[in-house]
Symmetry: C2
Subunit: 453 residues, 2 copies
């Protein structure tokens, strides 16, 4: 019989991996809570009507669709078959899909539960999402997202708080990062003063590649897309902004002075930076006008966070959207949010070897014993230790001490209490520190003290 | 536009519900860890070959199947259509399904990862499962299971530890429970001494209904199934066992004296009860020979836990299985486990009103302010409080105090720090206790002390 396997692009998480993942999730969650964000969960399955058309044509193809229960086949008459495509036939035999991200379900949640929600609504959500992407290194078909959003206010204090959250999460994790900041209105302003407001997408898609292909490459692409040489020339000072954030904003204010939208974007960015200063943010924030991400629904600030000491794409990103709930019939609800990429953070922590040595999930003490009477003796002491909050195991089988020690070793249990008949008579255990190899006879009521030192 | 909705049988969880659910999960998880259990996670999607045939014919129908990506339609030629049923056609266009429980994925995990695992393997797993059941009150198509299992040992200490875990979880939650205990070998022994070993399933299915239909009803059912009157008569003393666990086991030992299997079941049960006593278990444990649950794979102890103060089915259940991994080609791995039913525990806690008043997830303090300068003043104080671990919000918008107070009220935030120009000049805040209505001027560096009292 061949070993069973799991679908490609999915993963099992072993105890060791889970303990590292929990460390990341717990850190993120505790910072979210510190800022008054509250958790929600939405179902894994959404109606396809909720999901379809929200992620572009490519996204629609990447949705995992659930086959209807019961007699789905009768919805496909043989007549149908001749002119149906897999795509069009899907909607006949499937009405549910797995969520593709947490943003659309969140928008759906807000609209559906608007009467129960207190606005401004501060929510976080940590759940898996599924995409039928071609699996490849670092890209999975099931992965967790950690999203945090405020909706129902356009206060720029929210942008500031998200930046504070980024700073605090990465401070706690020990990862040095830089936050790239842009504003959709600045991008719109640039297109406007170039006289190409209609081609905002072409322009930003090209600019977005600046750090990969350089300004020469960007120019080539824009010319290829049909922009005039004159227009491309006028873009150059923008691509080559120099100096710190204040200096760049100064130059931009001059360049965009005739664009109301552009000037608004500059004002918003200045205000976010000012509020960050007031709030004592020390994080490295860099104005990056090449940053576009998900341009389609962002309307204000755009964020992206990169680790400084590891080559890795964005590990956190997000922005402000003014009309996310509009697609579900509730217009005019402005919101801003960011998403932490748990898998990439996991890889960064692994590469930098930044995981804490001990985890609260680990067994701290194993009782190893020479026989039945000894095992019995362990039970009461083990209970007393557990009531002090110490994770304790009693080896379940009666077997050689060597096997029991080996188990402790493999499981990285830091202390073993060995019990033979001598220990029973003296009310002690032989306590072995598995790291140093030292062992000493210890009164059973002193064990807790020693191992929690 | 009609409001968006979610698939029937699924649920959104609001912040208030999540905080209650997290309370349950955190309690269960912390007890699991205390006994050295470690978390794993498996993918939501499993290959259908892993799932099919594991839950009976009915179970196969209740699996949610994922439509293959890409051109699935070409797998269904028009020729096929004429003789295919929905069931047989499913396997042509779907090769993945959503997990139906945590037990089969766990068995698959153990076999697949056998080289990475240290046996005896103590794992817990808290994840949702999906079943295409007809939705009804209290039955959902997506719900969480909390499973804890030890595999790779047949030591009865494991049964004992699971009973200790049950005791500790419900002690922490404040729910009074009774644990029903049986053993599959006792049931097999009963069928054997009745001369009906082959009809173990019929007999236990009938006995299982004892507390619903009474012994008269059980007899009727057995006669209807074709058992002789004589056989049914010989079953009576077993159905009417009286006394405490020791007395019942004494009577059973007499009745089952000619069945080796039955006597083994009695020995195992006695040993579990003896170990429980040694381990100081005070839980109400009742030998219940009518308990059968999932007879198909249990081979030893069978557990079920019921709340004493609420009418509710089983809130926890499980048992020992000697060959769970056999279906995946790894025979001879004995294990024992239990599963906590989070949804029912949630309902019990609601009915008994047993949730703690304050949750660590809640915002403890809101800053309300009269304008921009005041809001700015709040930022620094808010940071200082957060660095002390206090969940703090600053109201993001500049708006009427009444609106801000209303927000705090609706969100059950216990303290509000009101800031006007007077407070800025004196370095204070006006701290209002939202429960008592009292308010006092407080130096900003004394806020933490007061609200954590």
């Amino acid at each position: 019989m061949t070993r069973p396997s799991i679908p490609k692009g999915t993963r099992d998480f072993t105890p060791e991996e889970m303990s590292r993942r929990n460390y990341i999730f717990d850190t993120i969650r505790s910072v979210f809570r510190l800022y008054g964000f509250q958790q929600i969960e939405t179902p894994a399955m959404e109606n396809l009507s909720t999901l379809l058309g929200k992620y572009g044509e490519e996204g629609d193809k990447l949705l995992f669709k659930i086959l209807n229960s019961g007699d789905w086949l009768s919805s496909l008459s043989s007549d149908d078959m001749s002119y149906l495509t897999s795509n069009s036939a899907s909607t006949l035999i499937s009405e549910k899909g797995l969520r593709y991200d947490l943003t659309v379900p969140f928008a759906r949640f807000v609209v559906q539960n608007r009467d129960k929600i207190q606005f401004p609504f501060r929510r976080y959500q940590i759940q898996p999402v599924w995409r039928a992407d071609r699996p490849q290194k670092g890209r999975y078909r099931e992965f967790y997202q950690c999203d945090v959003d405020v909706v129902g206010t356009d206060s720029l204090l929210c942008e500031t708080e998200l930046i504070q959250i980024v700073e605090e999460v990465y401070r706690r994790l020990g990862i040095r990062v830089c936050l790239h900041l842009n504003n959709r209105k600045i991008l719109a302003g640039i297109a406007e003063i170039l006289g190409e407001a209609e081609r905002l997408t072409d322009i930003t898609v090209a600019i977005d590649k600046l750090d990969k292909i350089g300004s020469e490459g960007v120019n080539q692409e824009l010319l290829a897309k049909g922009l005039s040489e004159d227009t491309v020339n006028r873009l150059q000072p923008i691509l080559n902004l120099q100096g710190d954030n204040g200096e760049k904003l100064g130059q931009l204010a001059y360049i965009l002075k005739d664009s109301e939208t552009g000037m608004k974007g500059i004002e918003e960015t200045k205000e976010v930076l000012r509020l960050c200063k007031s709030a004592g943010v020390k994080l490295d924030i860099m104005l990056d006008i090449s940053l576009a991400r998900g341009l389609n629904y962002y309307t204000g600030a755009i964020f992206e966070v990169k680790a400084l000491d590891v080559e890795m794409g964005s590990i956190t990103g997000g922005g402000r959207y003014d009309n996310l709930t509009g697609i579900f019939g509730m217009p005019g609800v402005s919101g801003v949010g960011i998403s932490f990429g748990a898998d990439r953070i996991y890889d960064v922590l692994n590469q930098l070897n930044l995981y804490p040595e001990h985890s609260s999930e680990q067994t701290q003490l194993l009782f190893a014993h020479f026989g039945e009477a000894e095992r019995e003796y362990c039970l009461t002491i083990a209970n007393a230790l557990r009531s002090k909050g110490i994770n304790t195991e009693v080896y379940p089988d009666i077997c050689k001490i060597k096997k029991q020690m080996n188990y402790a070793d493999q499981k990285h249990i830091p202390f073993v209490a060995i019990v033979g008949s001598d220990e029973i008579s003296s009310g002690t255990v032989m306590l072995k520190n598995m790291l140093t190899g030292e062992q000493q006879a210890v009164q059973s009521d002193s064990i807790a003290e020693i191992i929690t030192l």
